[in-house]
């Protein structure tokens, strides 16, 4: 357990997306020391993030889908940021409300925004800064 120093959390109500995302992330992450967690339930995600942080594992970023049934991505990010202000959040969405995205960005809650469907290259480019900061 102590080897794992970093973690990345993905939250999306569509499990297929999670799978895709996970696969892609494994390509760019150092799997030896980075945990990749997937959640369809945002509440579960919040719980687990708490645990990770308590165990002093550095959560590099959280990828969040906008449209989710239980709560929107924006709400989730807000909740996370309340507890862990330094958590970096990236939003994924096929149909995000531009204005709420801008709002989140202006409040410094959102680091990046990626539109679905995404290009692998684009994804890596966006995420690279987060990952490189850990190395």
């Amino acid at each position: 357990m102590t080897e794992m120093k970093y973690a990345v959390v993905c939250v999306d109500d569509d499990p297929y997306i999670l799978q895709m995302l996970g696969f892609q992330l494994t390509k760019i992450m150092d799997q030896e020391c980075t945990l990749i967690e997937y959640f369809t339930d945002p509440n579960q995600a919040i719980e687990n993030i708490d645990i990770l942080i308590k165990d002093e594992i550095d959560v590099i970023f959280v990828m969040v889908d906008y449209q989710m049934p239980k709560m929107t991505g924006a709400e989730l990010i807000r909740k996370l940021k309340e507890k862990h202000p330094h958590l970096k959040c990236v939003m994924l969405s096929g149909q995000a409300n531009r204005s709420s995205v801008d709002l989140l960005k202006s409040e410094n809650l959102l680091e990046e925004f990626i539109e679905k469907p995404w290009d692998e290259e684009a994804l890596f480019k966006t995420l690279r800064p987060f990952i490189s900061s850990t190395k």
């Binding site: 357990m1 794992m4 973690a7 569509d14 499990p15 297929y16 997306i17 999670l18 799978q19 895709m20 995302l21 996970g22 696969f23 892609q24 390509k27 980075t34 945990l35 990749i36 967690e37 997937y38 959640f39 687990n48 449209q67 049934p69 239980k70 096929g94 149909q95 679905k116 469907p117 995404w118 692998e120």
Partner: protein
């Protein structure tokens, strides 16, 4: 409350003062005494203590018999005692050169040694003992008592006493005050009572006291006093009243006396004067003024007095007064003859003077004078008379026996115009002139000669200036004692005016009777019996009599008609009572037996209240009556006209002609015509035609003949009519134009009149009246009326024309309307097309709105597919670039097999993975039957990734035994991943297809013209599919529609229906967290009921009606054109269904009912 000069205070003060002094003294004295006592006590006490301590100390050293225990215990007792006494500062023992002290209060050392008498009181006791060597040692015990502590204690002890004293003091002060007040109360009340009495106030309450002490006596005395004072007061009042009455009486008496006195003075011709020396002024009585002729101009001082008269005698006041004063005489009286300067009269006065002195100086002079001028009564009387005579306005002449005027008064002079000198000496005849009545002159002569009195004789005189005047003369002979005539007095009054008046009156009377005569009123005078005494010219004229003689004396009844006779019977009594009777309407019979109508009044002539005759004033109103009849006729004609006009106005066009005919009848009757007709002029054809006619019975109608008569036939009429003039032949036989006369006579027409009908200046026709029976001439008024009638007809014809015009126009309009309707129909069709296109638009809008949802729905699977494809690409490339070629086909197929059988789960989280990895490591390390592999960590990871767990021991063993186990596992993992990706791709594309299918079904073309069998559930599901994305977000969907429900309908239209309702519901709930959408269907034999409900906000009642109107939207510009729910309504209409909207706070329901 406390007045410092009050009695109460004065009583209280000494007490208070004394008390305060006592208390102060006590307060000061006591403590010091106490202190001394206390100190003494303390000293004694301390002395004892010191002795005890000393003894105790000695005991320590007494020979070995003493028990130290006893000594020490007694020491402790002493010390305890000392401890309790707070005043003891310290106890010290001085033993030769040693000392020690018991210091209960921690006193400083030097304090112990010194002797400070100010601070402490000391008590000492000495001791001595033998030391161990047998030497005598001595010392003393010193106890110091702190003075200050003593003082503190004393004051502490004293404090409550002080407070008590203070309290007592205050209490006693107050008590004393109350006592003082109580004591002084009676005195105060007595004082107040006395004050009241002295102020005449008897109303206040008096104190009472039954005690026999001084206060009591005083109180009672005051009470008694008040009673007496009251009595006295009432007595005084009575006395005052009496006095007042007396005084009044006296005053009255005095006044009376005074007036009597004045009167007496007057009578006695007694005048009084009072002169005051100090201001040189006098006051005089009226009589005095009269006697001496004093008026306002006289200055009432001594000088002025002397100017009043002149006297040659030496008995005047001025002469006598100085002497009197010198001699201090008081009285002076004498007779004095003087000449009064005011009028020069000589008087004889009796004067009495009294001089009053003060201190030898004269201050007042009282004088009384009496006029004792002796005059013969007669002379006096004469004088008076002459005064009268002088002043009278009547002429007074006095002549001697020879009729020569000796005296004449002013009035006579004025009247006659002659001067006194001219008159005196002449006879009165000088005033007479030619007009003077000789008869009167004769009468005078005779009377004079006979010595008779002439009274009230009228005579006319002339003044010097020629003014003629009338007089009434009264002449009285003056006889002396012997009865001889010595003269005459003539008194004459001016009756010129009177005479004039009489003449005037006569004149007036004459004029009056002249007037009566001239008046157009018929005036008659009857005597008491009713016989004519006078009748004026008018009366005679009207009655056709030549002269008054013919009727004079005849009884009025003979001129009355029968009716009037009856009236007369009623009128007469009234007259006899003396009342004027007005408004008589009578009929008189004239001389020629014509009846004339009379109206007028009759008034009685009363003499001394008796009826002596009557006078009647009448008017012949026969003519008037006639005129009235005519006027009535005119009025009636006007009425007829009015009726006719009204009829014309109200009559519909079609009936006008008959109305015109009827009116002709009326007018004809009025005109006494036998035939009436209306002709119209046709200027184009130059003909005239009869249009309306009325003919009396038996009279020939011309209506059929006289049509299209050329103008040339009636030149005369044309001529006249064109100018707007009437054609009238009052007497046909007199008509000059022979031709016309012939024509008319042939007809039998005696009179004819025709009136042109003028439309502005054009004669459009004429109205004619033929009179067969008589010769009728029409008066101006009648002609005017006829003109009016003709005008009316003109108007009527005009109106008819207008109405016909109107009808024509109406017909035109009807035609226009028809064409308009056609246009409207066309437009309506266009509208419907428009509506249809709007519906299309709505559909598009709906599509647009849901498209975003669709886009998302499509986007996700597409994205996934894309990524999946990328991933597979990646995997495959890495596979084939990697070590796949190192494996045999068998091995690869094994891998594939495994992979196919063991599809990896969707995702496994890192934590779980790690846990499993740990377990794997432990397993491998532990119970794994094989060797623990090198690269344990990596291998375990891979195994876990390939979803191997400790139960798959055989597989694991098999794989691990391979040389390239790691690579093997890697390939397996990759393949698994690839499979998973491909699975994902497939699933996503399925999802996309579904979305598109739903869309297509929704957008499908316009072929929805036929009804077909609809499966309700499928139909609604399609729509739900379209909204899937939106519904999936937080919407709790309850979709309970039985799949067996089928009915006929237009599926596309129903799509629109459901989608509109669902969309509206979703939008209504868009602001909520918990959204609920329920769809239920119920089918009965006759009805299909579908309910769409949502938990959106309540729709207000007033909107529920309008919500189905076109373009009504609550959603604003950007979402929806407002057509949605109206479309719903239309669709429902087409399906013969209706919708009910029920909305409350929790649930909004759309209930759609289809009739099957």
């Amino acid at each position: 409350m406390i007045r410092f000069n009050s009695f109460t205070f004065q009583i209280w003060l000494p007490f208070a003062f004394a008390l305060l002094i006592i208390i102060s003294v006590a307060a000061l004295y006591y403590p010091s005494k106490q202190e001394a006592y206390y100190i003494q006590n303390k000293k004694a006490q301390t002395l004892e203590l010191s002795k005890t301590v000393a003894m105790n100390y000695e005991l320590v050293f007494t020979l070995a018999d003493s028990d130290p225990n006893i000594v020490f215990s007694s020491l402790i007792t002493i010390l305890d005692f000392a401890q309790k006494d707070h005043d003891i500062a310290f106890i010290s023992i001085f033993d030769d050169d040693e000392y020690f002290s018991h210091r209960p209060n921690n006193i400083a050392v030097n304090e112990i040694i010194k002797w400070d008498s100010i601070k402490y009181i000391y008590q000492t006791s000495s001791f001595s003992y033998l030391d161990e060597l047998g030497d005598k040692r001595s010392g003393f015990v010193k106890i110091a008592v702190s003075r200050s502590s003593i003082q503190d204690e004393i004051s502490k002890n004293n404090r409550p006493i002080y407070f008590l004293l203070l309290g007592l003091t205050i209490f006693f002060l107050i008590a004393f005050y109350v006592l003082a007040r109580w004591i002084s109360k009676p005195i105060i009340s007595v004082t107040n009572a006395t004050l009241a009495l002295s102020n005449q106030d008897f109303t206040g309450e008096l104190p009472e006291s039954n005690s026999k002490d001084e206060i009591g006596l005083l109180v009672n005395a005051i009470r008694g006093l008040r009673v007496k004072l009251l009595d006295q007061k009432s007595i005084d009042a009575q006395v005052v009243d009496k006095l007042e009455t007396l005084v009044e009486e006296r005053t009255l008496d005095l006044q009376q006396t005074q007036s009597e006195f004045v009167l007496a003075q007057k009578n006695a011709k007694f005048g009084i004067i009072r002169y005051y020396f100090n201001n040189d002024a006098w006051k005089s009585s009226d009589e005095f003024d009269l006697i001496l002729g004093v008026d306002e101009s006289v200055i009432k001082n001594m000088d002025g007095l002397s100017r009043l008269f002149v006297s040659h005698e030496k008995m005047t006041l001025q002469d006598v007064l100085p002497q009197m004063i010198e001699n201090q005489d008081r009285f002076f009286s004498s007779d004095l003859k003087l000449k009064r300067l005011s009028d020069g009269e000589t008087l004889v006065l009796a004067q009495v003077w009294e001089l009053r002195y003060a201190e030898g100086n004269p201050i007042e002079l009282i004088g009384s004078i009496q006029d004792i001028t002796a005059k013969s009564t007669l002379q006096e009387e004469l004088e008076r008379l002459s005064l009268v005579a002088k002043k009278t306005t009547n002429l007074v002449l006095i002549t001697d026996a020879k009729e020569n005027i000796t005296w004449v008064n002013d009035a006579a002079i004025e009247m006659t115009g002659y001067s006194r000198e001219e008159i005196i000496g002449n006879t009165p005849r000088m005033f007479q002139f030619e007009k003077t009545d000789p008869e009167a002159k004769k009468k005078i002569r005779n009377a004079l000669n006979e010595g008779r009195i002439i009274s009230e004789l009228e005579i006319q005189n002339r003044s010097k200036d020629g003014l003629e005047y009338w007089l009434t003369i009264n002449i009285i002979p003056i006889k002396d004692e012997n009865n001889d005539i010595t003269g005459y007095i003539a008194v004459e009054s001016d009756i010129t005016e009177l005479k004039r008046q009489v003449e005037l009156r006569l004149e007036n009377e004459m004029k009056y009777s002249h007037l009566l005569d001239k008046s157009s009123e018929m005036i008659q005078s009857l005597d008491a019996k009713g016989c004519i005494t006078y009748a004026n010219k008018a009366w005679l004229l009207n009655m056709n009599y030549e002269s008054l003689d013919e009727v004079l004396g005849k009884h009025i009844l003979s001129f009355f008609s029968d009716n009037t006779i009856k009236e007369f019977a009623e009128v007469m009594p009234e007259l006899m009572k003396g009342n004027t009777v007005e408004n008589l309407q009578c009929e008189f019979i004239a001389k020629d037996f014509n009846q004339i109508d009379i109206t007028g009044r009759s008034q009685p002539i009363m003499e001394n209240g008796q009826f002596v005759g009557s006078q009647g004033f009448f008017f012949n109103v026969t003519e008037v009556r006639k005129v009235k009849i005519q006027l009535d006729q005119m009025a009636k004609f006007k009425e007829i006209m009015l009726e006719i006009t009204t009829e014309y106005i109200n009559t519909p066009v079609s009936e006008i002609d008959s109305v015109i005919n009827a009116s002709l009848l009326e007018i004809a009757k009025f005109s006494s015509a036998d035939r009436a007709y209306v002709f119209k002029y046709d200027y184009e054809n130059e003909t005239c035609s009869i249009t309306h006619e009325w003919a009396a019975q038996g009279i020939r109608s011309q209506i059929n003949e006289l049509t299209s008569m050329p103008f040339s036939d009636v030149p005369y009429s044309m001529n006249k009519h064109v100018k707007g003039e009437f054609v009238e032949f009052p007497d046909v036989s007199k008509v000059k134009d022979k031709r016309i006369q012939d024509v008319l006579t042939d007809e039998g027409i005696q009179s004819l009149i025709s009136i042109p009908m003028m439309d502005n200046d054009k004669a459009i026709g004429f109205i004619g009246f033929d009179i067969m029976k008589t010769k009728r001439e029409f008066t101006i008024d009648e002609k005017n009326l006829l003109r009016i009638y003709s005008q009316m007809l003109v108007n009527v014809f005009a109106r008819k024309g207008y109405i016909e015009e109107l009808q024509r126009t109406k017909a035109e309009l009807a035609g226009i309307n028809l064409s308009l309707e056609k246009k409207v129909l066309e437009n309506t069709k266009k509208n419907m097309d428009l509506t249809r296109s709007i519906l299309e638009q709505e559909k598009l809008v709906t599509i647009g709105e849901i498209s975003s949802g669709i886009a998302h729905d499509l986007n996700t699977p597409l994205g996934t597919i894309r990524v999946g494809a990328d991933n597979v690409n990646f995997i495959l490339s890495s596979l084939f670039n990697g070590s796949i070629c190192d494996f045999t086909k068998e091995e690869l197929s094994h891998i594939l097999n495994h992979v196919e059988k063991n599809r990896i789960e969707m995702y496994v989280g890192g934590l779980q993975m790690r846990k499993e990895k740990e377990q794997m490591i432990e397993y491998l390390n532990g119970s794994f039957k094989g060797d623990v592999p090198a690269e344990l960590d990596e291998i375990s990871g891979l195994l876990v990734k390939c979803r191997f767990n400790p139960t798959n021991e055989d597989d694991i063993f098999m794989i691990l035994s391979k040389p390239f186990a790691k690579e093997y596992l890697q390939i397996m993992n990759q393949l698994q991943m690839a499979m998973a990706q491909l699975e994902t791709i497939r699933k996503s594309s399925d999802k996309a297809v579904r979305v598109v299918q739903d869309m297509r079904a929704f957008i499908k073309g316009e072929s929805a013209v036929e009804q077909k069998l609809i499966n309700l559930r499928e139909n609604i599901s399609t729509v739900l599919g379209v909204f899937n994305y939106e519904i999936s977000l937080h919407v709790n969907l309850v979709f309970e529609v039985d799949e067996s429900i089928e009915f006929m309908g237009y599926d596309i239209k129903l799509f629109q229906l459901w989608s509109n309702i669902v969309k509206n519901g979703l939008e209504a709930m868009s602001d909520q967290k918990d959204k609920y959408l329920g769809i239920f269907a119920e089918r009965s034999d006759t009805q299909l009921k579908i309910v769409f409900e949502n938990n959106g906000p309540k729709i207000p009642e007033k909107i529920t009606d309008t919500i189905f109107n076109k373009f009504y939207t609550t959603k604003g510009m950007k979402s929806g054109s407002g057509l949605g729910l109206s479309i719903v309504k239309n669709v429902l209409k087409e399906h013969k269904a209706n919708i009910i909207l029920e909305s409350n706070e929790s649930l909004t329901k759309f209930i759609i009912t289809f009739e099957l």
